[in-house]
Symmetry: D2
Subunit: 411 residues, 4 copies
Amino acid sequence: MSTDVGELARRTRAFIQEQVLPVERELIVAGRHMDDDVRVDLQRAAREAGVFGPLTPVELGGLGLDNAGLAEVLEAAGTSLIGPTAVNCAAPDDGNMHLLAAVCTREQAERHLHPLLRGETRSAIALTEPAPGAGSDPSMVRTAAARVSGGWVIDGAKHFITGAEGAAFTICIARTGDGGTTMFLVDQDNPGLRVGRRMPTLDHSAAGGHCEVTFADCFVPDEAVLGDVGAGLRYAQVRLAPSRLAFCMSWLGLAARAHEMAAAHITGRSSFGRPISEHGMAQAHVADNEIDIAAARALVRSVARVLDTDGLASSTARHGAAIAKTFVAEAVWRVLDRVVQLYGGLGICEDHLVARFLVEARGFRIYEGSSEVLRTSIARRVLRAHTTPAPAAPIAAAPASAAPTPVLESR
Amino acid sequence: MSTDVGELARRTRAFIQEQVLPVERELIVAGRHMDDDVRVDLQRAAREAGVFGPLTPVELGGLGLDNAGLAEVLEAAGTSLIGPTAVNCAAPDDGNMHLLAAVCTREQAERHLHPLLRGETRSAIALTEPAPGAGSDPSMVRTAAARVSGGWVIDGAKHFITGAEGAAFTICIARTGDGGTTMFLVDQDNPGLRVGRRMPTLDHSAAGGHCEVTFADCFVPDEAVLGDVGAGLRYAQVRLAPSRLAFCMSWLGLAARAHEMAAAHITGRSSFGRPISEHGMAQAHVADNEIDIAAARALVRSVARVLDTDGLASSTARHGAAIAKTFVAEAVWRVLDRVVQLYGGLGICEDHLVARFLVEARGFRIYEGSSEVLRTSIARRVLRAHTTPAPAAPIAAAPASAAPTPVLESR
Amino acid sequence: MSTDVGELARRTRAFIQEQVLPVERELIVAGRHMDDDVRVDLQRAAREAGVFGPLTPVELGGLGLDNAGLAEVLEAAGTSLIGPTAVNCAAPDDGNMHLLAAVCTREQAERHLHPLLRGETRSAIALTEPAPGAGSDPSMVRTAAARVSGGWVIDGAKHFITGAEGAAFTICIARTGDGGTTMFLVDQDNPGLRVGRRMPTLDHSAAGGHCEVTFADCFVPDEAVLGDVGAGLRYAQVRLAPSRLAFCMSWLGLAARAHEMAAAHITGRSSFGRPISEHGMAQAHVADNEIDIAAARALVRSVARVLDTDGLASSTARHGAAIAKTFVAEAVWRVLDRVVQLYGGLGICEDHLVARFLVEARGFRIYEGSSEVLRTSIARRVLRAHTTPAPAAPIAAAPASAAPTPVLESR
Amino acid sequence: MSTDVGELARRTRAFIQEQVLPVERELIVAGRHMDDDVRVDLQRAAREAGVFGPLTPVELGGLGLDNAGLAEVLEAAGTSLIGPTAVNCAAPDDGNMHLLAAVCTREQAERHLHPLLRGETRSAIALTEPAPGAGSDPSMVRTAAARVSGGWVIDGAKHFITGAEGAAFTICIARTGDGGTTMFLVDQDNPGLRVGRRMPTLDHSAAGGHCEVTFADCFVPDEAVLGDVGAGLRYAQVRLAPSRLAFCMSWLGLAARAHEMAAAHITGRSSFGRPISEHGMAQAHVADNEIDIAAARALVRSVARVLDTDGLASSTARHGAAIAKTFVAEAVWRVLDRVVQLYGGLGICEDHLVARFLVEARGFRIYEGSSEVLRTSIARRVLRAHTTPAPAAPIAAAPASAAPTPVLESR
């Protein structure tokens, strides 16, 4: 198996190199956003190259990898900003695949999950809201779903909804009374769901952008409820650890590529009478990048094994993924920043790509749990061990109200 | 005098607040670059507000400040990305004003310097070249000027030439035999000077962009020589210290504004049951920003006094300005980065401006001497004191070939 | 005046170089602590060298400097760990001089302040207590003084009382009912005051060590009250800003000396075929040290001017001193740490002194307000400006209960 | 097997907790150095507890672990400063075991290696020399061995020779003509070997200290040559990777223990109206420690597997160990530094141990390759891939003179 994964990773890397990088360059030079026409073409090529669908079960045409395998393959795919999309493993679809696989009914699977896994559709998940709604604190959700005959009516405003434009459906998280929240599967063509503007974020590589989405008098039938009523935030945990870790994998790939680019770049250039590659401060940047990447990779792979053995929503998985997300987001940022510095003036020119990489990566320290929010929750888990006798229970047994102030982090 | 400067700074700050910020927001939201029509309007308003021309002598309609005064006023102007341009003290014009004032003839002053000081024109300086030409190491200049009857013919390619599009003239630094370099004042409409494309840099606020410029069979008469033949790199030192320090002043203003914006932003928002302003990690960011800004301000002002007392090209000025540039560029970056983090998701949306500030600022750690190149030269000056008996002489007496490996840093 | 200060600083530096450094080396090599016999000898030499008493008024035999002057002279004295003691301006005496000068009666001045200023005595101040008493939060003082006929009886335990062993008197801060605290001048030979063990702290250079001190049934007469009953924490503010800033000045001196030592050290050594001074990573350390020192110096001097103009207990002085303390403590630590790294293996050998410097300096980021406590209070002052209309009032008018949670930082 | 290792690690941790920590505390409080009487007692206890000899083959009474197993067990042993010695796996013995196992003859094994593995003796390795000899650059060795009848005569001065006092033998690295170096096994009672003073280093936990050692007219017979004449620096590579990694393992253990101590410490204390464990800046320290430890652990374990699969002297092992050493040394330092900060004033008191931990750890960023030297060699390996076609060959085939400037790092 491990050999297979190594081979898949190499094949993925070659696919990105040959078929995705030229498209990426074209998009960046043109200042264009990633979009669905590009996605469809790339995914077709990925299928032909045998690298489509790292998370898609083999019987649905994918690679069917566990998280340990994904760590190698998604890092390879991540060597391009649009690589994860090309192999059908980009956010928020990857997390939604995990979530639906764990929670949805057979009918919901056929309608929503399988087309998603096959790359026929894209999806969105709508949690974050403008202030004073849910930002980094998901318990502040204000979008509300009211019980009506045969279903629910959802009202509320969401923003930063990745991939909303062009998605087939959106998983909407809404308050459903008594402090509980519930997840609803809302078809994108539901007349009560309106996708507003793409927000002018620094990154341009998410198919479907990051959108404002409004639910206005949006009726959904009972079959649209995902899992149990009132269990929304609990389910959100199922996707959180793998989603965070997947971001780490793909950004790590980009960092590793940029690191190689910078090493090659400075090898051929001179200043002050010596090749730049002989300047000690340049070497310090190269070494620090190598170190950051090695540490990030080891951490991601070790946490991936925890997810595989302990379960996606286990407390060890959540703790590990929070740690990995924080470390890797900061490490990737440091690497890309040093790469820009190694390029000098060319590093702030978008035609050398590394400027674009840095700008694209800026959000990674914020979305899916900012470094500050995550560190708060990491510290609380550590400190709790010194005050309470028992560790947090796994999700199945998780009581609705966990410890003192539950930190259920998200964007 | 000091009272006057304080008053001028307050007036400048108010001018920026009332008349420049609305224009800045418009440009950013529209994704537009700063351009000359905007510049002309803003400078007219600056004149009316009595804040035009910090470096322009009073008799030419300006404020006639020394560097100590400039530190306060340019920080105020810098609270907008386009503020320095609005008051006619943006790069590269400010450095060129210093350079011309120190070196040019009366005729050159009337033709080039005075219109520049009055804001009637803009200027450029052409030093940096594509590899293997002069990048961070100015001694690698390959653009060459050949002696011909009545003048010189310049040939070579330059890039990252700030403000070239729309400038009235460019100071071209070219090799002139025997290892010497010479500065030439080239009218922008000289048929041998071609302004190429604007380079797609991350920043958008420099009037005239950062351009590729080619000199091809470019004839200039003897009167176009600035100062002495062969003294080009020596003169470059005259503008280096004040130019670096001016960047520090204006970026410090932007950092201070962003810091205030972030403090206001988090004061009104809550998460996890408390105002964000009560979260310890948010407070750490706010405090670190306050500290970085205070240290940067104290350093800039103390070095400004050194420039005023010891002279722009003194070794103490050069050393101090290199120190300030390095510290302030890194500090400003840290501040803007923390501000983005304090804004959370909104911090990577360009409609909240702070995302744009971060992206605009990225070049500051590279241009006018990258942090690595500057630290090399700072260290060498420190270490030289432990090997040679006498400190470096001031510019007037500077021998053509200074110590072991002269580090004459630039972009 | 400014010339005089420059001259005094040079003279102080020379005095340290010639007369204090040999004593310092002897103490360090022998693993001995600084003690009073050494202090008396050094202060006699300082008087002869004309550098005694930077804070001592001229009429009492000192230099009578303001904070701006002190910044230069105390930095010079601080080039030795025991230099501030040698010139009679070491903690806690310097802060106590400021406090007594501002608050004490004529009789108290004659009995306590003047001998202190003349170097005939040393003093202590007893605020911090073992948990759950006052640590970084002075409002948690548990030592209590009860009203009795003709005076007060103090009971409680203190620790980390710098200089207690051998001091002539201790300013004890005790709770005096109704939530107020009061300062008492307690003679060290008061039978109710017991100086316990010297605590085994990392630093060895404080005359009198850092001691445990117990007040048990300790009677003091009414004349022992310093200032008003109940105003203890308010008075503590008077000494806080100058005391913090004085630490910055003297540690800056040590950092500057270590920086010079390291530069000299690496200039004469080689590895990997080149002088270490030509290794880029060594140069990075040297440059970063030069930058940190320059920024720290500029900041300290600018805040010193604020203390001189706005008053020791003004809100601007307190804010500035908190900023300077935080920045300088961290910067000094970075400098000394890099110096150790530049020395390599020799850097962790105490016979090269720099190892000792690092260890001695570790406490500076903790005492007189840890970097964390100070950043909290800095942030609160910044953020308060965005919620309340008026800035904090100066000390004279300060209400007993300031804003939400007053941060009155100390060790 | 993996279960066994987990069980061994738990047993080791318990042994340390119960039998080693009390001894450690006694040594620290008394200011005593680790010494052989203590070592012998502890090793006897370790044998009884079944945790003796992680590297000692089972047939010699040890645990016979590979590097992957060692990573878990030595981290457990490292929770005490003297834990690695207690289980007979402290530097330099662990590295010497690897070296001798790979290179020595059957006779040398019986005489030197087996007693070492059984804990009957200690050993030393003498590479580093006072300037201008071998410091961080082993190619600068000046100690020379001259061919004489029946053997060699060694002359030269070494310093920082860990464990020299009380060792049974020293592996001396000396120049043997033609630029080659050779390793010699020198009995400690050889009259030509003199152990000088223990150097006054910051750490006190190495049995036998760090000593000055002189070889004067020191005759050794031919049988004392370790491996081939001229191959000394090549053999040094055999011990380098496992030795560096072993340091990482044990220091990681100490960092993890200190992290737990700090978390427990702040849980029970309050300031400013809240438990310190609720202060955001304290939480940031706790989280950063948790993250640093997790990343360090993942990296160490992944590199340990590389050593096991690729060989101790493979280029991947050397690269990986250099990366791990640099990252872990810096991470451990950050952790211990934050722990001190979390303890506040108590953190700089040696009776709370964490002050001592910080001081002890300072050398780790310097010995066995300073962070700067290692980063240079890491960068060169990365950059070489961009200039030369083939990667470095494994040790067996390594030519005497490798690439441009071979960086063969050591202390």
